[in-house]
Symmetry: C2
Subunit: 339 residues, 2 copies
DNA sequence: CTGAAAGCGCTTACAG
DNA sequence: CTGAAAGCGCTTACAG
């Protein structure tokens, strides 16, 4: 039998015919793990089968296998956008963890649009994924109860939602860390570039900061909290609004590194020196933060681990085991922007 | 028939039984497009079928369909890493263009490692994708001839390789644009942060710059070209090497925005003002460039369009039609960093 | 216009 | 230890 280079892939039947045995025997051998022959076939037969399979590069047709077993070994992942570095890193964690347990990850962008999210989820289900990792959950979203009602195995990632299992950073704690740091540095007039109000990440980081700030005795009026897009431009616009509003703060907390970078740009435009005139702290400690011309202080969240942990969580859900949400601890990296 | 909320999905057979007709009739109707009944069934029957299908939310099992048709409607995409913003944006273009023609995109990271690349390609083929978009081609790579020999439909994206169809930016032209710009601004002592020598993007951008520079009458010794990683840290390290080497250049061309940002950091560390003391130009014009504290000049490449174009190219390859590589035109965005 | 049959490539009880 | 059969959910010639 030649190594296969033609159109048609080698099938179980081809192997069986070549060896003069029944396809079911080949199947049995190839699906029990090598050491435990488990009565699948005699060791001699098993060896002949495995040798031939390796020689011709046999790879079972996953469509046929799925049709029979009712499992696709596919994990669907829905994120707002992979061009958000934070989600891209989490996805790398997902891909790695999924591969380790025999799944492939299948990812799609929803642009943080609820209609698109619903369409993409349906697309994933139409593809018959074994489970779903939702990375774009909205606090007011209604797709989750529907998924639960349809008994679809799923977990949330990055953003949490009360009542559903999730793998996230402890964003409340992250906000607290920033409040403590800026308070210690003597800042008393601070503003928060808070992100999108529909995302738990934004809400929790902001709430963690504000609550801790007030507990420390600080004052922070509501109009010091400016909701914004998560990206660089959103951060710049939010900072512009803050600086236009009157007395400039001595420190800014942006709940996202990219928003923080945008804010740094706005400060410079207004002739203010980042660090000296106004401290800036970001969130996620993306690889850029440490390398910026003025290195950015940032809350480090274990992004890849959040992705890996989501996979482990989902695996338990698929198996019907009880699960507990995971909230991973953040740490603060202090750099020149707020030193 | 109730809307399906149980474990088992509704099948063609279920629909047929409910309507008292044969499954093959249901299949025929559901697969011819609505307006052209094309003798699939009487209009009356067709209508009943479509209504019931919509009512119960029938979605055909793609595994069963694939097994029968020998097509998965899956496009495999291999990229170095989605956490590289450039690839993430290209992937968004791929996803959109693929959906438009009835395919789903299935993406994986290879970390720019040749072994990993081979593994990931094999994984994609084992999943029986209908075609492959290779975004991590190495100039010295040998996986491409093997793929061609096995008659796998594939195209390259972002990085080209002589003899294989690709969708890329005209990187040579991009390098030329930068040379012309810096020359016009009066710079005569320039260095190139050149990226990885195995990537055609790096090689072409650098060659385009150098060749044009010399054609303009400029001098650029070989040790002014410093190979580097594509990321921020790689750019910083390269710039450090350049600054340590002796006479500082008056301009730096980094073949990647992130490398350019790292270089800006290194300049600042050495007390040099970006723009005033040393111009910096990047490549790709990622969303960050315009929003940086010192806005970065950058060659704009049509990233999403490169992805979309790769899909169209691949579709032609899958159909067995002749294809021509696509090289999309770049434009230069001049900003404060080199104004 | 519609039905009946075969078969895509697997897995999995069930015999023997 | 191995074979034979059934069936997962589709599509597609082939009849009539």
């Amino acid at each position: 039998m030649e190594k296969n280079t033609s159109e048609r892939a080698v099938t179980l039947k081809d192997l069986a015919k070549e060896l003069g045995i029944h396809p079911s025997t080949v199947s049995r051998v190839l699906h029990s793990d090598p050491d435990s022959a488990r009565g699948a076939a005699s060791e001699a037969t098993a060896q002949r089968i495995r040798e031939l399979a390796a020689e011709v590069g046999y790879s079972p047709d996953p469509q046929a296998t799925s049709l029979r077993t009712r499992r696709t070994q596919l994990l669907g992942v829905v994120v707002p956008r992979l061009s958000d570095l934070v989600l891209a890193i989490m996805y790398e964690g997902i891909e790695e963890a999924a591969a380790r347990i025999g799944y492939s990850a299948f990812v799609t962008n929803s642009r943080d649009d609820v209609d698109e999210q619903r369409r993409k989820v349906e697309m994933m289900l139409a593809r018959r994924v074994d489970g779903l990792i939702i990375g774009d959950s909205h606090l007011d979203g209604d797709v989750l109860p529907d998924l639960r009602h349809r008994a679809v195995p799923f977990v949330l990632m990055n953003r949490r939602h009360p009542g559903f299992p999730s793998s996230t950073c402890d964003d409340t704690r992250g906000g607290e860390l920033v409040a403590e740091h800026l308070w210690d540095k003597g800042h008393r007039r601070v503003c928060v570039i808070a992100g999108e109000p529909y995302a738990s990440t934004a809400v929790d980081r902001t709430a963690g900061f504000v609550d801790r700030w007030r507990a420390l005795g600080g004052d922070i009026p509501d109009d010091s909290i400016v909701w914004s897009r998560f990206d660089t431009q959103g951060g710049r616009e939010a900072a512009e609004r803050i600086l236009a509003a009157g007395t400039a703060p001595t420190a800014l907390f942006a709940v996202n590194d990219f928003a923080a970078i945008g804010a740094m740009g706005a400060l410079r435009t207004h002739g203010m020196a980042v660090g000296a005139d106004c401290a800036v702290v970001g969130y996620n400690d993306t690889s850029l933060a440490a390398e910026l011309p003025i290195p950015l202080s940032s809350v480090r969240s274990p992004m890849a681990e959040i992705g890996r942990s989501a996979v482990r969580l989902l695996q338990r859900v698929i198996r019907g085991e009880p699960v507990e949400s995971v909230r991973l601890a953040p740490t603060l990296q202090v750099r020149e922007s707020s030193a």
